[in-house]
Symmetry: C2
Subunit: 125 residues, 2 copies
DNA sequence: TGCTCATATGAACAATTGCTCATATATTAA
DNA sequence: TTAATATATGAGCAATTGTTCATATGAGCA
């Protein structure tokens, strides 16, 4: 109980210790959150969703999403840094495509969660 | 080409149209981003990761993560609203546990992406 | 009833983020 | 080289977000 992070008395020490031992390293969980943060933006989700269908150049994506070339370019940078997309240069044009097999699974599972029938018990009892 | 969202001339109309037809509805992509936004925070990732191992009360989670009861409670609310955790009341104590089969798959795929060997081509060409 | 404990929640503040605007870089063509 | 085009990028700003602090709710107990 040592340090006081909680005003409560009922701390199940055994559970806490067991969980602490089994949990992944802090660094990995941080990286995982960073990855999901990349997926957590509508524009980036749309870009990824588009690249599932075809390789596209920056200009095409901008036109498709009715957004600025600059805005798209900035977001593509984020996706590149997360190693989620790769690029191919052809003259002045840069074509982007997906660079990871896991994205599809993650997206599909996410969509399945969304499509699940909603219960009626939202609030806490 | 109609509206100008991009200063470029080289727009591959056929690709854009094909992709536009195949992409999921805008609303679903929005919801998907909202879901990933929930995963995109270290504290919430840690909470979920802990709940993979055992059902826990608010106080235990706070102690485990060395964080305030208030901070944990706020984040649990976000997880509840996303229908990712469920709760069970036992007297004054509220126990939380995971409420979705897809989370595990999403997490595992995310971890696999992170563990992939990194290439050395970060910057653009 | 009144007290205590476990949890929930509202307000406020600092930090982060996505877009815009202006500009830089790189490639092709004249 | 100069001009034009496709993309990248830095600064700045508005909007969002996670935490803290104070307080509310609600259940068990004296």
């Amino acid at each position: 109980m040592s340090d006081e992070f909680c005003s409560c008395d009922i701390v199940h020490e055994n559970v806490i210790e067991m969980v602490r031992k089994k949990m992944p390293q802090e660094e990995k969980l941080y990286d995982l959150a960073e990855l999901f943060k990349v997926f957590g933006d509508t524009t980036r989700v749309k870009i990824i969703s588009a690249l599932f269908e075809a390789e596209m150049c920056v200009c095409d994506i901008a036109e498709l999403l009715h957004m600025t070339q600059s805005a798209i370019s900035h977001q593509l940078r984020v996706l590149r840094q997360a190693r989620l997309v790769k690029h191919r240069k052809e003259g002045k044009v840069v074509f982007y495509s997906l660079d990871d097999e896991h994205i599809k699974t993650i997206f599909n599972q996410g969509l399945e969660h969304i499509l699940e029938p909603r219960g009626f018990e939202y609030a806490i009892s």
